[in-house]
Symmetry: C2
Subunit: 202 residues, 2 copies
Amino acid sequence: MPKAVDHEARRRELAEAVWRVISTDGVHRASVRAVAAESGWSTGSLRHYFPTQDSLLAFAMELLADKARARLQAIDDQDNRTVLRRIAEALLPLTTEHRIEVEVWLALLARAQVDPGLQRAERDNREALLSVLSGVLWRATAHGELSESRNPDLEAVRYLAVIDGMTLACVFYAERISAEVALAAIDRHLDDLLGVPSTLPA
Amino acid sequence: MPKAVDHEARRRELAEAVWRVISTDGVHRASVRAVAAESGWSTGSLRHYFPTQDSLLAFAMELLADKARARLQAIDDQDNRTVLRRIAEALLPLTTEHRIEVEVWLALLARAQVDPGLQRAERDNREALLSVLSGVLWRATAHGELSESRNPDLEAVRYLAVIDGMTLACVFYAERISAEVALAAIDRHLDDLLGVPSTLPA
């Protein structure tokens, strides 16, 4: 019985080792050898999972997407404005743990420019995010919350741009762009899209 | 007479060599040795300008800021909405040459996470950009174009976020986010800020 390999448990164990190496030492040090040292596995058996460093980094990109997906799926079905706010909260680097994810993401983005596999993974992740945002914004149109003069798909692109841009600002201009400023900009954006909410409790 | 070193000409010559190496081979290959080979200088005399690779990359970041500044300064004094549109055009990767600048910028951003000097340079560049944008938006408030209910400084932060986020989208999701889509999102944003412009010629 213990001989049957639990692939899911192994994957999780590897994921944690990869993540520890990246968040402590940086993406540029995330070699198969470093992950082997961190996980206690032999380099040889690790090569079975990651024949190259590129495959290791592709796995790190998958982990990032998994983490984002888990946070997005935890968003309860509430009104459309709240869902849009929660999506921004799930993506912006508002906590230390999430700040590390953003640092990894930026490092992977730089790599993606010379790695077609990473570039494809990044594009797929963006596509998934955009389709979630578009879905919420089309629903808002159907409910009369978003003006019919607006194109929900274009608004999805613009809203994701605000989130991505605020993410960069939070990382590189933290003295001026605190979590409060980032969320104030998001709220202002949602006011423009959906109108200023009533100040009365719902 | 020829003994007097023309530092500005040397700097320009070096800048071109650094830029050719980075845009052809990528930031990760921009070593002092590679720039020496490209420029025809000896590694020794190049070390006088760039004692370390970090100083070389800091110089690349300066070049990026110079290029952006030159494009921004070329914007004629026109109405505030046009100035804001032109700033976006100057920053978004709408041409091949500018796309290369964005690729270099992303690579330097990833480096900046582990290089305090680069991080400071990036922050200074953002600060300069934000103060240009704030200036235009305060002027728009004074002219009654921007509603007094809006905070021009927060709007500057949000507008820069849209530009940065659209920049990432143009690079990593080019099939969906063309130059036209990026500019349509910018125009929609300016409509929200300043009102839909009259369709009559000014």
